[in-house]
Structure formats: structure tokens, C-alpha cells
């Protein structure tokens, strides 16, 4: 009973200390509002503004039509370049894609030959390479067929592809990004808050004071775990309701209490980790260096 009372009183003390620490309060507020909003909205589409250059050696209506088909927001307006500029542009990362339309392309197409178009992809840009190549292939095929429809009737066999996306029909990045970021912030803050709570005591020498009192180390630790966990949990709930659902208009289809239960378990693990880091790290900077590494280890 006395132990529970100790844990309770020490936890209250932590909450009071936090209340008087404007830097940490600001960090919490930032993490659960602006931090989530920026992370959610700034997450770019994987194919967004992809830079593409075209070497047009044909200069026919068909090649022009093809070039015009690459439009924002997926692609930047295509740059027309000479063949000689192509390698340098790709080497310096200026263009992620270059399309090489051969001479007499239109004539060959109309004549029923199968001329080859070369698409060069900078495969060091892993995030765009596949997606972009897929889009370009589709766009190319569509444009040529549409062009041909004006001239010929005996088209080859065609099948259409209808892509439907479940759960997030428009693939809105913020739906995923905001929730991911909430989880990241839970991890980061719970580690930093508990670690900081312990190290603050050590730096001010108050931990010694506690240890000569009839208080055991586990009580000190548990007090920090419950108080900081509570702060993060409250902030999470508010952030999900007000920021994610309210501001970012992300529909939460599942059960919020269930999410919070999961978060609670997660918090117990991460706050304990914060304490662990706090006990190894002798100083605040060391703690702060270790925490991100810890966060990275968990999240990745």
C-alpha cells in the first residue's frame, strides 16, 4: 500500500515537473499537431513531378502527341533535348527518365512495323523507377492506339485494365502518413520523456535525494512510466480525434479504444526502454544521441 502511494505521489510530481518545463511541453504539442500535419501532407506521391526528357528524332505529329501526354502532377513538362545531352543529364540526376523516339517513328507505326522506343530509367531513384516506367509504358501504348484509331480499323486485340484500390481509393498519402506519424511520435516521445525525466533527476542530484528516502528504485521507475505514459496516451487520443480526424479529415474506420489499448502496450515497452537508456546514458546529450538510434531500431 505504501508502495502504491509512493508511486502515485512520485508520478504526480513528474506531471508537475513536466507542467513547468515549457521546452518539453512545446515538443509534445509540436509532435502531436504540426509534426503530424507536416509529415502527413509533405509525404510526396511516389510519382510526383518526375523529371522526364525526350530525345525526339522523329518530330512527327505522333511523337508530339506522345510528348504532350506526359503531364503534371505525375511528370514535369518534358524537356526536349538532343541525344548528346542525354547521358550528362542522367549522370547528374537532372532527368530520372529519358525517352528516345527514333527517326521515322510515325511512318513505321503507320506502316504496321513495330518500331522500338527506348526508355532510360535512372534506377538509383528506386522510389520512382518502377512506378514511372509502368506509367510511361501505359501512356505510350494508349496514345499510340488512340492515334491509330483515326487511321485504321483493324486494331489488334485490346484489353483494358481497371485498377481499383481498397481502403484508400485515391491513395491519399496523408491517410497513411498521419497514422504512421502518430505511432512514430508515440515511440519517440515516450522514450525521450521518460529518459529525460530520469536524467533530469540525476543532473539536478535529486535522484540521490530520493534514494536516501524510504523509496525503492522500482517505485521511482514505475512512477515515471505511468506518468509519462499517461501524458503520451492522452496526447495520442487528442491528436487522433482533433488533428488526424478533425484537421486532416482522415476517416478512422476501426475502433479508437482498441487503438489506444494497443498504444498502451506499446507505451509500456517504449517508456521502459526510455528508462533503460536513461540508466546507461550518463548525460542528457548521450541520452539524446541514443534515443534516435533506439527509435530507428524499433521503427525499422
Amino acid at each position: 500500500m505504501e508502495q502504491l502511494a509512493n508511486i502515485f505521489h512520485l508520478g504526480l510530481k513528474e506531471l508537475r515537473s513536466l507542467q513547468r518545463d515549457p521546452a518539453l511541453l512545446l515538443l509534445i504539442i509540436w509532435a502531436f499537431t504540426l509534426g503530424i500535419i507536416t509529415a502527413a501532407t509533405s509525404m510526396p506521391e511516389s510519382l510526383h513531378n518526375a523529371s522526364i526528357a525526350v530525345v525526339d528524332e522523329d518530330r512527327s505529329p505522333l511523337s508530339a502527341r506522345l510528348i504532350d501526354a506526359f503531364q503534371p502532377p505525375y511528370f514535369r513538362t518534358p524537356q526536349r533535348i538532343e541525344l548528346s545531352e542525354m547521358d550528362h543529364g542522367m549522370d547528374s540526376g537532372q532527368y530520372t527518365f529519358t525517352l528516345n523516339i527514333p527517326p521515322d517513328f510515325q511512318r513505321d507505326v503507320l506502316a504496321g512495323h513495330s518500331p522500338a522506343i527506348q526508355l532510360n530509367v535512372d534506377a538509383t531513384q528506386v522510389s520512382m523507377a518502377f512506378t514511372g516506367a509502368g506509367y510511361i509504358q501505359m501512356i505510350g501504348a494508349e496514345e499510340v492506339s488512340a492515334f491509330l484509331r483515326h487511321y485504321r480499323a483493324d486494331l489488334p486485340q485490346q484489353a483494358e485494365l481497371a485498377v481499383r484500390i481498397a481502403y484508400n481509393p485515391n491513395l491519399t498519402r496523408s491517410w497513411f502518413g498521419s497514422v504512421m506519424e502518430v505511432i512514430n511520435q508515440i515511440t519517440m516521445l515516450s522514450i525521450i520523456l521518460t529518459g529525460a525525466a530520469l536524467i533530469r533527476e540525476r543532473e539536478h542530484g535529486t535522484i540521490e535525494h530520493l534514494l536516501v528516502m524510504p523509496v525503492t528504485p522500482p517505485e521511482i521507475m514505475l512512477a515515471k512510466v505511468w506518468s509519462m505514459g499517461l501524458v503520451v496516451l492522452l496526447a495520442t487520443a487528442l491528436s487522433l480525434l482533433l488533428v488526424v480526424q478533425g484537421w486532416l479529415q482522415v476517416p478512422i474506420t476501426g475502433s479508437l479504444p482498441l487503438f489506444l489499448c494497443g498504444a498502451l502496450l506499446h507505451l509500456f515497452a517504449t517508456t521502459s526502454m526510455g528508462i533503460f537508456i536513461g540508466t546507461i546514458a550518463r548525460s542528457m546529450p548521450a541520452d539524446l544521441c541514443l534515443s534516435p538510434i533506439g527509435c530507428l531500431l524499433i521503427t525499422s
Binding site: 528506386v126 516506367a133 509504358q137 485490346q158 546529450p285
Partner: protein, 915 residues
């Protein structure tokens, strides 16, 4: 200690202050001070801690910026930068704190060498000067010992050597003997006398909190609350106040309001008769590795006794107290409280003990009342009694007016009373107080003692107190003299003095110390004047490589002696490379999918096979209906479902353009986007294949799109990520280390050497930067080795170009660190700030994940100028694209321009004086 005779005609004052004021935020450190400091004298500043002595000295030394008023030192205005640069080689400043301006990991000689280089002395001159200084201070034997492992007295001697290395005309010492044992203190002052007799033209300005010491100075300035109370020789001050000791004189000089209610402290005798033993130490020892902190200490303290531990800093007082309070486990021997061995798990005994640690250690974020209540609760005072107990404490310790305030804002004297109140709120029978009165003014100290006497005599509380003030020790019932972990003797103060037959306790303690050390203080040998003092009129060079390398050498030595920092940097970056290289994989592979085939013809099978042939997809059992599709996608079993409509084969042949449906799991948009790209590519490939097969019947005419994945034909995430992560790590870690390197000096106080020595800002910055560039290059090479041999990432281009680029880039990164360090004050802020300034642009805007060419607005602007973008292109170019100098030269130029721009920014932002 007769001072050298003052010259007949006193020279012009060495320093003159006119209406000097200084504010720290809202507190006023100096309030319109005007005074003159006579030349060629030993001038003492006396007063308790926190009254502005240190600020005054820092202003005179030029280490702190003048806020208002005028200060003339050595015949010139200290507000002028030119004058400061001119006189700074003639002033030596030793800041407060044991060895504050020294570097603890460097040896004695290395420390001296560092300072000698800063003052531009040649090698031969340095050697003779260092040897002589060491000989005259008796430090010769300890030349190789790290400064951090010297005793307090030796540290102060070394500090003095460092200050004297360039023959200053004005020597400024800020509390040089605080916390040093009386023997060393005595030796220190003898040393100063000796130096003064050799260089009579030198003026010495000393601040001290020990009033006894002040009696040997020529001229005194008594200071309290930022104002001068009185000036004059010690004899004059005593005469003016009609007092016998300077301490009493100081109290007499203090304003009426503060003295109100102060009366001479009278110590009532203890009631006679044998009492039970409250605290007992039997053969108590504590070892930390090889170091013996407490060496077989024994004592017995009776109930109600005030027992004092007298000794210098680091002699084992605090360690003994920590063993009594279970904070440390004794290596051998035992400590007993009330006849019971101290046991960390014994909660009952803890409730009978109150403890007050050396520094103020209550919760600054809780109000006075909250602190009292919290401690009462933790000691399990019954809830009903807490309110009454708190009120009683407030009354007894006169805290009534400040109950709702935060302790941080209270004066030191009141904070000490609060600490004591907290320590006794649970009515303990034993009080353990570790230097409770250091830094408190004499009046507040007397009030504090009155409270302790009250507790001891009226409540029968046993008090165990440590101190380094002789006059406090005299008030104890019994004392132990402690030195280097050993108790030299213990008895009542009077008995100890009588035993030795010396007049004062200080002399008695010194006699004991001399017995313990076993030798007479080494008489400083009279020495010849320093060799042809060419450094007295050195050419004042604006930029000196000697000074620059002095800093480089020192920083490199410190880095080498602190293996944790270096290896954290190297191992940390390798670890991060592994985590990020493997962790942030953009490969989307092994996608599970299932087919809902409502056609079941050979054509539809062929379409499904087309998917199954891809290395990215893994087929699961086919779907039977929409419900199943829904269920299996929801459970995460499949991330893609393909629906082939009825009559697909027939419609295709008829040319009716049938529609194939694809359902994607959109919960992770990035992944869904990539899957979409895959299936679109596969579908287009299927159509091309279809067209080719048909060419027998109808003529094929769709163009053939040949996709060439350049630089990374298999589009492997690892091959693309590793060359991109290396620039990220080489920005983050060197920048952070460099920033910490400078900010650490700010926190430890050795930054003062930048303020008071001739080193310029650029020399300081470049000097600090060089070792970190070297460390960064080592780090770079390690990362390259890991990339090529562990990750098997092919290095296709010119290694020389990559290394050159790395060198330039690391210079940029360390300069970024320097830039951050110029405007952060604490290591925490430096780490946070550097992380934000390096990580966000390096990850978001430099083309690590999204090419710079695809960025817009602010991000694009940052991406174009941030050094990581340039080095990322170099790194990817050399690793994946087989490029060299000729193709990439423009990016080298960009980096080359960035370095001087960053350094110029740092130089203009760095302060050569404390604000």
C-alpha cells in the same frame, strides 16, 4: 607573509572602473560600481558567493562584454577591440572553479604547452619556461599526469602556471583556493609572494570567500549585492569597524537591514553524560578501481552531538556520507546507524535519517510548499498530519513568505533553509549535512547554525556535518580532520588545538597535514628571470598557424584520450549504415496476390500466368467470389486481387476490349503505388506479347517500348540506398561531434581561453575543425569499406574523386557543426539543433529519396544549395554511374564555395567575449 614594500610613488592604477553595471536577465550583478585598482599591489575582493565578484573580474580581464559604464585596464578602454587585442597578452586570468580553464584529459605538460603555443612562444622558449614553472611550483614530478587526476591544490598550481606562462603584468585570480586544503592553500599564497618578489611590476587581483586569507592582502574591496561596501587595507577595515576579525568586520559593514536580528552565535554546551551511539563507522573503506576514496575510517558519534568532518574537496567526506546513507556500498568495513548495519533495503532506518546533499537538490519545478508536501508524503507522514507539519516547518525556518514560490528563484540562504526544512520534515533522529553552508554569506550562515543548534540541543538530533570552513568546524562538538581518504585525528576542536599547541585550528590542521604528507613544503627555488623575454613584445600577427595548430593538437589529444566519443562516432555510423541500408528498403517484392478467374479459358490462364511469371509476385490460392476477395484482403493475406471477367477470351478475340479488374490494398499508399506501376507494366507487356502473336493474322503495329534500367539494372534498393546513406551519415555525425566539441568547452568553462588569450576566432574554429575532419575521413573510409565488402555495392567510378568529394563534404559538415555551436549554449541544444538542421534537409530535400529535380518551392531551393545534394550526386555518380572528376567537377566547385561561406558565417557569429 610580508608583502613587498609598496613603491614610493604609486604608479597609475592598473584598472579604473566608472559606473559599471551588469545585468543577467532580471538579476543585477553589478550596480554602478566605480573603483580604482592600485598597480603593483595584491588587491583582494572579499564577499560571499554571488555578489558580483566573478563578474567584476571577468569584466576587467576582458572575458565579458561591458554592458554599461567604462573600464580602463593598463591604460586603455576595454570596450575597444584593438586595445583588448593589445593588452590581452599582458593579462592573465584564472577563472573560478578547480581547474576550470584546464583540460582534464591532457597531462600537466600538455596543458602548459597548449597555453605557451597560444601566446606564440617558440619551442626552445616553451621548454625552458615550462621546466622552470614546474620546478618553482613543485609539479616537476607530475609532468605526465593528466590534469583531471591532480589534487585540488595541484590543479590550482597548474592553473597558476598556465596563467604565468607569458609573464603577465596583471594577474587576475578568481577564488583560487576555494575547496583546497589549508596546506596547499598556504603553499599557493607563498608561491604568489615568491613570484611577486621576482616580478614586482606585476599587479595581482584576487577574489576570495575566505576572510582569513584576505588578511594577507595589501588592499581590500568588500563587495556585497553588486556594490562596493568599503575599500582599504585590512588593518584600516578592522580599525574602522572596531572588530577583531575580517569576518566580523564584513558583517559590520553590511547594510543595516541585513544585519537586523543578527547576534553573535553562542554555542550552548552539550548536556553531560554518556549517550547512546547514533552513528558508527568501523574500518570503513571505499575504492573506485585503483583509487582509494575512503581509507579505513572509524568514528563514533553520540546522540545529540554535532560532529564535523573537516577537509578539502575530494578528500572523501562526501563518499563517507554516501556510504552512511546507502547511496554507495562500502568496499569493506561497516557503517552502523543506531547499532544496526546500514542496509539499502531497510526502509525503517531511512525514515530516521535526514540528508542534505552538497548542492541544492530539491525539485526546482515544484513550489516550496509542494516540495515540503511531497517529502512528507514520501516519508509516509500520516495524511492528516501533513498540513500541520508543513505549517510548523514554514514557521520554524521562516519560509512563510515564500511558500508558493519556486525554489530556483530564491536566494541561496533561503534555499539552504528550505533544504534543511525538507530534511527534517519527518522528524529524523540523525541529520547528515554535506557542506550545507558553502557559498552562503556570513549572516545567513549564522542563522543556519542557530537552527542546527536548536535541533541538536532541544530535539536531541544527531548532526553529522562536513565543511571546509575553519570557523564552522570550531562550532562543532567534535571534529575529524580528513585528508586523502584518511581521518588524521578526531577530538573536540579545542583539544586538537591544545594537542599541537598552535594558536588556530588552521595552523593545527596544516601541522597535521604536513605530518601526513611527510615532508616540508618545497621551498620554491629562486629562479633566474625567464629567458630573453622576446614574447613580451611579440609581433601581433592577425593570423597565426601556431595558435591554430595549438588548438588542433589539443583537440586531437582530447579525442584520442576519450575513446568513447571517437568510437561512438565510428561504430555509431556503421551501425546506422546497416540499419538504414537494410531497414529503409524500397524494394517491393514477394507480393501476394490471388486471381478471381470468371472466364476459365486458356486465354485467361495465359493472362494469369503472365503475372505469376514476375519475380515480384507470389500467387495464392485462387479466389471464388467477391466475399472471399474482401475477406482475404482485409486480413492482409493478399495485397492484390485480379479479376478476369467472364468471356474474356472471346471478347478479346472479337476486339471488344474486355476489362480486367485489379483490386489493390491501399492502406500503404507508397506500396500500392509501386504495385500499380508493376501491374501496369505487366499489362502493357501482355498486350505487346499479344500483338506479336497475332502478327500472323493482323499486322502488328504497336511500338515496342524497350526499358533500360541504367546504373542499377536489377533496381536493387541496397545498391541505390548505400551510396545515398553515406552522405547522410557523413553530414549528421561529423556535424554533431564538432558542435559538441565547441559547446562542451562552453559548458565546462574552458571556452574562457578563447576570450582571454590572443587566439582569434578563425584560428579557434579552424583549429577545432581539423581533428574532426580527420575523424570524419576515417569514418568515411570505414563506411566505404563496409559498402564495398559487406554490402557488395559495386564502386564503379574514380575512388580518388569520391575521396576528394568526401573531404570537401566533411569540411562542409564540420563547418555546419561549428555554425550550430556558435548559437547553442548547452550540449542538448547542440545535439537537437544539429540533428534538425542536418537531418531534415539531408533526408527530405537533397535527393536521398526523391530527386531534387522533383522538388518544388522552398524544398527545391534548399535542395539546390545544401551540400548533401552535391555530395549525393558525387557519391551516386562514382558508385553507380562510373563517373569521375571531369563529369562531376561542377559539384566539387559548389562544395568548395560552401566551405568558406559557412566559415565566414561562423566567424561573424562567434563571440570573442562573453555576452
Amino acid at each position: 607573509m610580508s608583502a613587498p614594500e609598496a613603491p614610493e610613488a604609486p604608479a597609475a592604477p592598473v584598472a579604473q572602473l566608472q559606473d559599471v553595471s551588469l545585468q543577467y536577465g532580471k538579476t543585477c550583478a553589478l550596480n554602478a560600481v566605480s573603483l580604482e585598482i592600485p598597480a603593483q599591489r595584491m588587491v583582494g575582493l572579499i564577499g560571499p558567493d554571488g555578489v558580483g565578484k566573478s563578474s567584476l573580474l571577468a569584466l576587467i580581464a576582458g572575458a565579458r562584454k561591458i554592458q554599461s559604464g567604462q573600464i580602463e585596464v593598463l591604460g586603455g578602454d576595454m570596450a575597444s577591440r584593438d586595445h583588448r587585442r593589445q593588452v590581452c597578452p599582458h593579462i592573465a586570468y584564472m577563472p573560478q572553479g578547480l581547474g576550470k580553464n584546464l583540460y582534464p584529459t591532457l597531462s600537466v605538460i600538455e596543458n602548459l604547452d597548449f597555453f605557451a603555443r597560444l601566446f606564440g612562444q617558440g619551442e626552445a622558449e616553451r621548454k625552458t619556461r615550462i621546466a622552470e614553472l614546474l620546478r618553482s611550483t613543485g609539479l616537476s614530478e607530475f609532468g605526465e599526469r593528466p590534469a583531471g587526476k591532480l589534487s585540488g591544490g595541484m590543479k590550482q598550481k597548474l592553473g597558476l602556471c598556465c596563467a604565468l606562462i607569458h609573464d603577465p603584468d596583471l594577474l587576475i585570480l578568481d577564488e583560487p583556493t576555494t575547496g583546497v586544503d589549508p596546506l596547499s592553500r598556504n603553499q599557493f599564497w607563498e608561491l604568489i609572494e615568491c613570484i611577486r618578489s621576482q616580478r614586482p611590476q606585476m599587479s595581482v587581483l584576487v577574489a576570495t570567500a575566505y576572510m582569513e586569507e584576505a588578511e594577507r592582502f595589501d588592499h581590500l574591496l568588500a563587495i556585497d549585492e553588486g556594490a562596493v561596501l568599503a575599500t582599504g587595507s585590512p588593518a584600516e577595515l578592522l580599525q574602522r569597524t572596531q572588530c577583531t576579525s575580517l569576518e566580523e568586520a564584513f558583517i559590520a559593514l553590511m547594510p543595516e537591514a541585513k544585519r537586523e536580528g543578527h547576534k553573535q552565535l553562542v554555542i550552548p554546551p552539550r548536556p553531560a553524560g554518556e549517550q547512546e551511539i547514533a552513528i558508527e563507522a568501523r574500518d570503513l573503506s571505499m575504492r573506485f578501481g585503483d583509487f582509494v576514496a575512503v581509507d579505513h575510517v572509524e568514528f563514533r558519534i553520540e546522540r545529540g552531538e554535532i560532529f564535523g568532518f573537516l577537509g578539502s574537496n575530494g578528500c572523501g567526506k562526501t563518499t563517507t556520507m554516501k556510504m552512511l546513507t546507502c547511496l554507495l556500498q562500502a568496499s569493506s568495513g561497516e557503517a552502523l546507524l543506531f547499532g544496526q548495519t546500514v542496509n539499502a533495503n531497510d526502509m525503517a532506518t531511512r525514515k530516521r535519517v535526514g540528508y542534505m546533499s552538497q548542492s541544492f537538490s530539491l525539485y526546482g519545478e515544484l513550489s516550496v510548499r509542494q516540495n515540503l508536501v511531497l517529502h512528507a508524503q514520501l516519508f509516509h507522514v500520516p495524511a492528516t498530519e501533513i498540513a500541520g507539519r508543513v505549517t510548523a516547518m514554514a514557521e520554524r525556518f521562516s519560509l512563510g513568505d515564500v511558500m508558493e514560490q519556486l525554489p530556483e528563484r530564491l536566494p541561496l540562504g533561503i534555499r539552504q533553509r528550505l533544504s534543511l526544512a525538507v530534511a527534517v520534515i519527518h522528524k529524523p533522529e540523525i541529520l547528515i549535512l554535506d557542506e550545507p553552508t558553502s557559498g552562503v554569506d556570513p549572516i545567513a550562515r549564522d542563522v543556519f547554525w542557530q537552527l542546527m543548534l536548536d535541533l541538536s540541543r532541544n530535539d536531541g538530533v544527531t548532526i553529522f556535518i562536513s565543511t571546509h570552513f575553519m570557523n564552522e568546524a570550531l562550532r562543532c562538538d567534535r571534529i575529524s580532520l580528513m585528508h586523502a581518504g584518511k581521518v588524521l585525528d578526531s577530538d573536540t576542536p579545542k583539544a586538537l588545538i591544545a594537542k599541537r599547541g598552535l594558536p588556530t585550528l588552521e595552523a593545527t590542521f596544516i601541522a597535521y597535514l604536513q605530518d601526513a604528507v611527510g615532508e616540508q613544503p618545497q621551498q620554491p627555488a629562486p629562479e633566474a628571470e625567464a629567458p630573453a623575454a622576446q614574447s613580451n613584445t611579440p609581433k601581433r600577427k592577425r593570423f597565426s598557424l601556431l595558435r591554430l595548430f595549438s588548438y588542433t593538437r589539443r583537440e586531437a589529444l582530447e579525442l584520442r584520450r576519450d575513446p568513447i566519443r571517437g568510437s561512438m562516432a565510428l561504430l555509431g555510423s556503421l551501425l546506422l549504415l546497416f540499419i538504414i541500408g537494410y531497414g529503409i528498403s524500397l524494394d517491393v517484392e514477394n507480393l501476394t496476390y490471388a486471381v478471381l478467374d470468371r472466364d476459365q479459358t486458356t486465354t485467361s490462364h495465359a493472362y494469369a500466368l503472365n503475372l505469376a511469371g514476375s519475380r515480384y509476385f507470389i500467387e495464392q490460392a485462387p479466389l471464388r467470389d467477391y466475399d472471399e476477395l474482401d475477406r482475404r484482403m482485409r486480413s492482409g493475406e493478399i495485397s492484390l486481387a485480379v479479376e478476369i471477367p467472364p468471356n474474356f477470351g472471346r471478347d478479346l478475340k472479337r476486339g471488344a476490349v474486355p476489362q480486367i479488374g485489379m483490386w489493390l490494398d491501399g492502406a500503404m499508399p507508397m506500396r500500392a503505388e509501386t504495385i500499380k506501376g508493376y501491374v501496369m507494366g505487366l499489362h502493357a507487356g501482355y498486350l505487346q506479347e499479344l500483338a506479336r502473336q497475332d502478327s500472323a493474322a493482323t499486322r502488328s503495329n504497336l511500338p515496342n517500348l524497350e526499358v533500360r534500367y541504367r546504373y542499377n539494372p536489377d533496381v536493387e534498393s541496397l545498391n541505390a540506398m548505400v551510396p545515398a546513406v553515406i552522405p547522410l551519415l557523413l553530414m549528421l555525425i561529423p556535424a554533431m561531434l564538432t558542435a559538441l566539441g565547441v559547446v562542451r568547452e562552453k559548458e565546462l568553462g574552458s571556452i574562457i581561453n578563447l576570450y582571454v588569450t590572443p587566439v582569434t576566432r578563425l584560428e579557434f574554429l579552424l583549429g577545432k575543425q581539423l581533428p574532426y575532419i580527420a575523424l570524419g575521413m576515417l569514418n568515411f573510409v570505414l563506411l566505404l569499406i563496409a559498402a564495398v565488402w559487406v554490402f557488395d555495392v559495386p564502386l564503379k567510378g574514380s575512388l580518388l574523386a569520391l575521396l576528394t568529394g568526401g573531404l570537401l563534404y566533411i569540411s562542409c559538415a564540420t563547418a555546419m557543426g561549428l555554425l550550430m555551436s556558435t548559437f547553442t549554449r548547452s550540449q542538448i541544444a547542440a545535439v537537437f539543433g544539429t540533428a534538425i538542421v542536418t537531418l531534415i534537409p539531408a533526408i527530405q530535400f537533397s535527393g536521398l529519396i526523391y530527386p531534387v529535380a522533383s522538388l518544388e518551392g522552398f524544398g527545391a531551393l534548399v535542395g539546390q544549395i545544401y551540400p548533401t545534394s552535391h555530395f549525393l550526386i558525387i557519391s551516386r555518380g562514382v558508385f553507380s554511374k562510373a563517373l569521375g572528376f571531369t563529369e562531376l567537377y561542377s559539384y566539387f566547385v559548389a562544395l568548395l564555395i560552401t566551405i568558406p561561406v559557412l566559415l565566414a558565417l561562423c566567424t561573424s557569429l562567434l563571440k570573442k567575449q562573453e555576452a
